[in-house]
């Protein structure tokens, strides 16, 4: 049977999380199809060059601009019947959409997989990553969301998939899009960044985040935050790294003024190299960091900005 991947995109380009999801799909089968629901008729063609996919199933309609789940889930239900697995990234897009489609198909979704054992069996973190469960699904169509950081992405180019259209667009009179505030930044996205520098409650104010931004700009890094910093109103919610925020695994993660609550560690402990800067030498963050510096961040950050 073939594998269906639901593309996450912004109508202009396919998001990187989709490429990680296709990488997970490769572990399940060779015939991978990508479902692209959009208002942009060019997007399916540009998606057709992604490696490892054999077909793009394109649904193009103006009503699909915001991809609300009330419209998308019934479409997935209809398409899914010819597949053994349906995968989407475990981002807010996939988390919102997939359980709705799963219930329509009477299938018990497997959320946020971090490993594939075989066609039916998957690894996934539970209890904020305190434990890893190996779970077997007995449903005939398996709906799965994929933890992007656990799978190395496939390339955007190199493939030449056929594009097929799926015209049966579901109507949605239940919900409508009103507005969106999407942060615009020249820095990389948190979930795709090679380097991340994050601030916690120790930053003391949102204004002080410029100390991190200076370093981020030198390193080409993304800026993140702990839940404590977001709850305190220092920075917006989309900065949050953690169990209930973004899960990241960059090459280098620099935690500044972050104590290391379990819910934060759950979002970043798979980073390759972790640096912690904190004035409290007993902070739990030092137990997971490769390099710890016990110091006042307000002294250290300007010096670090000079020396890197």
């Amino acid at each position: 049977m073939s594998i269906l991947v639901i593309a996450e995109h912004d109508n202009t380009s396919i998001r990187p999380s989709t490429l990680n999801t296709i990488a997970a799909a490769k572990l399940l089968g060779d015939d991978i199809h990508l479902f692209v629901a959009t208002n942009n008729s060019e997007l399916p063609n540009s998606a057709s060059t992604i490696e490892n996919i054999s077909k793009v199933i394109a649904s193009i309609d103006d009503t699909l601009e915001h991809q609300l789940p009330e419209a998308l889930a019934p479409m997935i239900k209809e398409i899914a019947t010819s597949y053994s697995h349906v995968l989407a990234p475990a981002t807010t897009f996939g988390k919102n959409l997939m359980p709705r489609a799963s219930a329509l198909l009477d299938s018990q979704q497997i959320s946020d997989i971090s490993g594939v054992i075989d066609q039916d069996t998957f690894k996934r973190p539970i209890y904020a990553g305190s434990c890893i469960a190996t779970v077997k699904s007995n449903d005939s169509i398996k709906l799965i969301t994929v933890r992007a950081t656990a799978f190395d992405p496939v390339q955007l180019i190199g493939g030449s998939a056929a594009v097929e259209s799926f015209d049966s667009v579901a109507s949605n009179d239940k919900s409508e899009f009103v507005s969106e505030e999407i942060a615009k930044s020249d820095r990389p996205e948190l979930t795709a960044a090679d380097v991340i520098i994050s601030g916690g409650r120790g930053m003391q104010s949102g204004d002080n985040f410029h100390l991190l931004e200076t370093i981020a700009d030198k390193l080409g890094a993304a800026v993140g935050a702990s839940r404590a910093a977001v709850d305190a109103g220092f920075v917006p919610n989309d900065y949050q790294v953690g169990q209930t925020g973004k899960i990241v695994a960059p090459n280098l993660y620099i935690a500044v003024g972050i104590s290391g609550a379990i819910q934060h560690l759950a979002g970043m402990k798979d980073s390759k190299v972790i640096v912690a800067i904190n004035k409290d030498e007993d902070a739990p963050i030092f137990q997971v960091s490769d390099y710890g510096l016990v110091a006042d961040l307000f002294n250290v950050l300007p010096e670090l900005a000079d020396k890197i």
């Binding site: 507005s179 209930t244 390759k272």
Partner: protein, 249 residues
């Protein structure tokens, strides 16, 4: 307006959960249990809607063993008017929970169903969306702001790139994110009053739904542990290590 608030009994968020020694599941012997934090936010939002005059009745409901009565009493102490326990085996799957909740929703006809976006045990983040699908109602997940306007709700949602606002027709399902509100604590007089509030019990087997499990837990293990590294003494040493040892910058 009538509000249904499904809640869940979970391990207290301060407990560090470990696998059983035979790795068959997590070890939940003698651990502290509590209302799932996202469910507390759901209860709080419903109570605020009642306090503002927008809602008239709040019904708390849970699917679980009889021990879950404790969490329903907490919800009653926080301001819910009555409670329903759907008694089941331990740890029903989200799809089974959603089917059971749908039956209660069909009986009670709430205008709004508010529940947590995920339970901090399985971290599945499924039940609200599944319930919406089964009831064929709109869903507003990961809410950080909720405004009722007549027969619609305007909901601001926390999404990866920032915030999105959608408008859903009532009845609707809303799932709560962390910043929707800060839940209150139950006062002692309210805890006492809650003991007298109605708590009905139903068996999940009487609801006419398929309760069979679709998944099996093969094993539960600790994740690979990170070794604590070294402490550096200065910024110079840190930069040197990152450049020459870790080759990370």
């Amino acid at each position: 307006m009538k509000i249904l608030v499904p809640i869940k009994r979970v391990v207290d968020y301060n407990v560090k959960v470990r696998p059983l020694s035979d790795n068959s599941n997590v070890d939940l012997n003698n651990v502290k249990m509590a209302v799932n934090p996202f469910c507390e936010i759901a209860v709080e939002e419903a109570v605020r809607l009642k306090e503002s005059g927008a809602a008239t009745e709040i019904i708390a409901v849970t699917v679980g063993t009889s021990a879950s009565q404790e969490q329903l009493r907490t919800a009653l102490a926080l301001g819910c008017d009555r409670a329903i326990l759907i008694e089941s085996e331990e740890n029903p799957e989200p799809l089974v929970i959603a089917k059971a909740l749908a039956k209660i929703a069909e009986e009670e006809n709430p205008d709004l169903i508010i529940l947590g976006k995920q339970a901090i045990d399985g971290d599945n983040n499924q039940t609200g969306q599944m319930l919406s699908a089964i009831l064929d109602l709109p869903q507003a997940t990961f809410a950080s702001n909720l405004v009722i306007e007549g027969q619609t709700a305007n909901v601001t949602r926390e999404i990866d790139g920032g915030l999105q606002t959608i408008k859903v027709n009532l009845p609707a399902i809303v799932t709560t994110d962390l910043r929707l509100n800060e839940p209150r604590y139950a006062s002692l007089p309210n805890i006492m009053k809650a003991k007298k509030k109605e708590l009905a019990t139903k068996s999940i087997n009487d609801l006419g739904i398929d309760t069979s499990a679709r998944t099996e837990i093969i094993s539960v293990e600790l994740p690979p542990q990170r070794q604590a590294g070294i402490k550096v003494e200065s910024v110079d040493e840190l930069v040197d290590k990152l450049k020459n040892e870790a080759k990370a910058i």
